[in-house]
Each structure stands twice: as C-alpha cells, then as structure tokens.
C-alpha cells in the first residue's frame, strides 16, 4: 500500500495517524489549541471501521485514567491535551510510569503558568522531560517540528512505548498543532491481535493472575523496582537518541532548538550564513533521551551554543549539563505565547553574543 498525501493541521495529523497506526482507544477532553484531535476522531468515527474506541471523558483526569485502564489491557491507547490539561494528567502519568504501561500522551503546549494563554509555547519542557508527576520516572519524549513528524511520531511513540513498557509523550506546541503542511500518511495498519503476557484480560487457568499496580509497601522491593526503571532508562539513553543537524560541520555558533523554535532557527541559519556568520543548528528530536553525547562532541568545535526556546530557559539546563562547561551557553527565547522569528534570533546572536 502506498502512502497518501494530505494537507493537514498538526492536530488532525495526530488523529488520522492514530487511526492508521491501529490504535485501540483514544480518551480526551477538549482544550485549546488541540481540540481538533477529538473533533477529527469523532467525525472520522473509527469505531465503525477499525473498531477504535473514542471517548470524550468528563475531565483530563478521567481521560488519563482511562488510558491507564486500556493500556493495562495491553491495548494501544492515547490521550492528548494542552498544558493545563497535561498538569491535571500528571497523577495518572506517574501511575502509568510506575505500573510500566505503554501509552502515548500528546501535549500541544500553550503558554503558562496557570491558565496562561492559548498561544504556542515550549514552557512545559521541564514537566515533560524531568518526570512531571511525583516519584523517580521518565517519559520518552519526542519533539516534532513539522506536521509530518506529528503524524510519524504517533507510530514511533507507540513502538517505543511498547518496546520499553513506558509511556511516551509527543511534546508539540500550538503552532505545530494549528498549522497545515503536507503530510504523507502511512497506510492503515491492522489493530494488533496479540496480547502482551502482562496484560489483564481475564486470568485463564494456564497462567497466574496478572496484577497491574504501582504499589509496593516494602521499601526494599520498591528500591529494586526503582533500580529496574533506571536500568531501563539507561538502555533508552543508549539506543533511542534522535536528532537532526543543520550546517554543523564548520559552525562557530550553534543554535540548539526543538519543535517550532527549530523551524525558526533553520531560517535563522540561512539568514546568518548569508551575512557570513558560521552558524549551525542541532535539533533534538528526542528530548528524553537527550542528545547529550553529540552536544558534548560539538562543544569541542563551536565557540558558543545558544538554546533557543519559547520559554524562560528550560532546555538550556540540559545543554549546560551536556557540554559540562566546555563552552558558554546562552539562552534566547520569547514567552507568553509569542513565537520568536528568524530575524530576531539572528539579531540576538549578532548583538548579544558576537558583538557582546
């Protein structure tokens, strides 16, 4: 089967890709700027075709707990929301991580804190990559920079989630959610009929009962479990780092940016290069695991790194940890739902870093 070309919003691409990836269930609650996902699914009515369940829950809290229930049955389930809604889901997410359940969570980020704005932001970076809820855990975090990646990362997110029995998150933002681009959609996949050995589907006489829980009252056993999680995260760090480089070979200055900011920086690289400034871009595609090793190598070659992000400076902390003092690292970004533009990024580079 061939891929199909469509012009779609990032949000619509997530919805369509979920159907095509053979997802078993979607549970969500409306919030701007990602309500198109639930709207698209309701209109597409996949329960009539693939058998995928779609349910508008009474809250984000209920939605993430529905994801817990579905994932614990070994099903491919997802939920989507935007920043305030993702905060509400944090309880469920830590339980899912603690019970080692695979699922996909999409955050179409808007500016905060609090109710904030409905415009695009990248101010949920800490929450996404450092855990988010209580306890020691990590999500696998993918950062799409195009509508195509919004679609592609649905399948990738599910694959990684099931491979590692770990929740995966697509950390997007309002700009990528709302914009339309060309997207090549994969053909429809069958919903999986295989049942993971750990799934709760009713205990046959041939196996012991399956219990999905994150509870362990014995601290010694809990610590053993924590160590198991760390081993899993280390394996993920070893095998699943993804990033893209643009003009890094001869770069003296390096932008580090993901998602929408990375798209802005691609243009900034063109503009700066046209003025004879040797700039490159490293775009992390996985934010957890972070491309730390590569950044550390690049720190041997570049003079300065600039973490460009739509936040007060969150990812910069991972850049700093990666380069471990080898080069100075600056932050540049706008907040409150304002997306920086390519000229502004170049201007900052020239006035504050090269000239400063």
């Amino acid at each position: 089967m061939e891929k199909e070309l469509r012009l779609m919003k990032g949000n619509e691409a997530v919805a369509e890709a979920a159907i095509r990836a053979g997802a078993d269930g979607y549970f969500g609650y409306p919030i701007t700027p990602q309500s198109e996902i639930l709207e698209y699914l309701m209109e597409a009515s996949p329960w009539k075709t693939t058998g995928m369940v779609v349910l508008q829950a009474e809250s984000e809290i209920a939605a993430i707990n529905m994801v817990y229930g579905g994932a614990a049955c070994g099903k491919k389930v997802l939920t989507t929301s935007s920043s305030p809604g993702i905060s509400l889901k944090q309880e469920g997410i830590t339980y899912i991580a603690g019970a080692e359940l695979p699922c996909l969570i999409v955050n179409v980020v808007r500016g905060g804190p609090g109710l904030g704005t409905i415009q695009p932001a990248q101010s949920d970076y800490f929450q996404a990559v450092k855990g988010g809820g209580h306890g020691d855990y990590h999500l696998i975090v993918l950062a799409p920079a195009s509508v195509q990646e919004m679609a592609d990362f649905v399948g990738l997110g599910f694959d990684l989630a099931f491979k590692y029995r770990n929740p995966a998150m697509i950390l997007s933002d309002g700009a990528i959610g709302q914009m339309m681009e060309k997207v090549w959609l994969s053909p429809q996949q069958e919903r999986s009929k295989s049942v993971p050995a750990w799934a709760t589907t009713g205990k046959p006489s041939t196996r012991k009962r399956n219990i999905i829980t994150s509870l362990d009252l014995d601290p010694n056993a809990q610590e053993v479990f924590n160590q198991k999680l760390i081993a899993k995260y280390n394996e993920i760090k070893e095998k699943e780092v993804r990033y893209e480089e643009l003009r890094c070979d001869d770069a003296e200055y390096l932008f580090v940016a993901y998602g929408t900011s990375a798209r802005v920086c691609m243009k900034s690289v063109q503009l700066a290069r046209a003025q004879g400034i040797k700039v490159g871009l490293l775009r992390p595609i996985t934010l957890y695991p972070y491309p730390s090793k590569r950044l550390n190598q690049l720190a041997d070659r570049v003079k300065v790194m600039i973490s460009v992000e739509m936040s007060a400076g969150q990812m910069i902390e991972d850049v700093l940890l990666s380069v471990n003092g080898k080069v100075p690292v600056h932050h540049f970004g706008r907040m409150g739902g304002i997306v920086t533009n390519p000229e502004e990024v170049v201007e900052n580079l020239k006035s504050k870093i090269i000239g400063g």
Binding site: G25, F27, A57, M66, G202, S205, T213
Partner: protein, 263 residues
C-alpha cells in the same frame, strides 16, 4: 482431654460445612478483626467462582483499606489511583466488552475524590459493576471524616462529632446515582448477618447477569462497619451500625429494573 478431641479429629470431610472458595488466594487478609471487607470479598469471590467468571473478570481495586484487594482474589487486577477506578473500568469494558468488569471502592475513594468519575461513569451507563463499601470513615489513613460520615459521628478530624453546619452534610451518593439514566440496578445492602450476606450475594449475582445483558451500570452499596476507626468492638460496631447508620442509609433496593426490561 484436649488431645482426645484434637483439631485433626474435627477436620474430617464429613464435618465440613464451610470451605474456602477457590477464587480466594491463600494470602492473609490485612483487615482488622470484625471488619466487613473480608465478608464482602468472600461474597464476590463466591460469585465469580460460581458463575465461572475467573477467566473473564478484570477487577479494579481502589485506594483505601482494600488497596491490597488484588492480593486476595485470584483474578486479573488493576490497581487504580484514588477515586479513579470507574474511569479505569470504563476503558477496560469498552476495549474488552465481553469481559466482566467491576470496581470495588470505599466511601472516600468513590464519594469524595472520585465523585466526578463515579457520577459520569454511571451517567454514561458504563456496563460495569461498582461495589461501594460505605463505613462512614477513612479507615486506612486512621479514621478521618469521610463524605459519608453521619451527623454527630466522631472521627479523628471531627473529634467532637460531625457538625454539619461547619463540615457539610453526609453524602448519599447511592441515591444520587440512582437518579441517573445510565444506572440499571442500584441497591444498598450489608454483610453483618447471614441473612444480609445472602441478600448481598443475590444482588451481586443479579449485577453479573445484567452486565452480561449489557444493561448499564449496576451499583451495590454495602453499608459496613469499621471497628478500629469507630473505636468499638466488632459486636458493638455492628449494633451501632444498625442503630445509627441504617436509619440514615436504609437497606434495600433503590432502583430496580422494570419487569419488562429485566427480562
């Protein structure tokens, strides 16, 4: 004399009048002496065994005294976050519609922190069974006031008795869910006497049948005691329950299927 009628002489097949159900595991229950949870578990286990549902059942356990329920019944289990069991069960049942899905929740779990999940699952008519243990107190955390604590009742956070003007009124959540179109069968029972045990078991068996017929949400409240939380002996706690809880939470069916639709 003791040796003459030792325990081995008594444990003979011909003397056996009561057996452990197969569905109960050998794990020792973590409940206080005289607590109703063990009896409620046993009834549930009997029903699952007798109806041949072991391979078809997914249970959702709560946060509360019965948080370790998954250790006691030999079926597949999911442990939900506090109050979220009906949302968890909603997804299980929708993704595995042929399975028997139930939640087992206490009053703090179901009627306080999980009120939204309870109301909305019932209102959607999710085809699940909700078993609701109401002992008017937060047992696991040490006897604090619950949404169901009756007026004047002493708890560790209402040490002079629940003052409804200050602390709000006890919530009859079962009566509320009975008004929702999604619930099919709503009943309030107890497990403190053999007669009541039989009634509760009958109610559970009905709920199993209704779920097989996709009738909607079945909701069984079990008014129960908490000797430790109430600071009473088991016997006294049952007496106190009859005298104080039952007048406010009267036993019996609250919503029953109409004859025609029950066929």
């Amino acid at each position: 004399m003791a040796e003459a009628t030792g325990i081995k002489d008594i444990l003979k097949p011909e003397n056996l009048v009561y057996n452990k159900t197969k569905i109960m595991t050998d794990n020792v229950l973590s409940y206080c002496p005289g607590c109703g949870h063990g009896t409620a578990h046993r009834i549930l286990a009997e029903i699952i065994g007798e109806e041949g549902l072991q391979s078809q059942t997914i249970g959702v356990s709560p946060v509360g005294c019965s948080v370790l329920l998954y250790n006691y019944l030999d079926i597949d289990w999911q442990e939900a976050a506090h109050g979220r069991a009906p949302a968890v069960a909603t997804a299980i049942k929708r993704l595995l519609p042929d399975k028997f899905v139930f939640t087992y929740q206490g009053d703090g779990d179901l009627a306080a922190i999980g009120t939204a999940e309870t109301i909305h699952s019932c209102n959607r008519g999710e085809n699940i069974l909700i078993i609701f243990i109401n002992n008017g107190i937060y047992g696991m955390t040490g006897g604090q006031m619950a949404p169901t604590t009756i007026s004047g009742m002493k708890t560790s956070t209402s040490p002079y008795g629940r003052d409804v003007k200050l602390m709000g009124n006890p919530l009859k959540i079962t009566d509320i869910v009975a008004t929702l179109p999604g619930t099919y069968y709503v009943t309030r029972q107890s497990v403190h006497t053999p007669a009541n045990v039989r009634k509760t078991k009958k109610a559970m068996r009905k709920a199993v049948q209704y779920q097989k017929l996709n009738k909607g949400t079945c909701f069984i409240e079990i008014v129960s005691n908490c000797p430790s939380g109430w600071k009473m002996t088991p016997v006294l706690s049952n007496k106190w329950m009859e005298e104080n809880m039952f007048p406010f939470y009267p036993l019996g069916d609250i919503k029953v299927p109409e004859e025609k639709s029950a066929q």
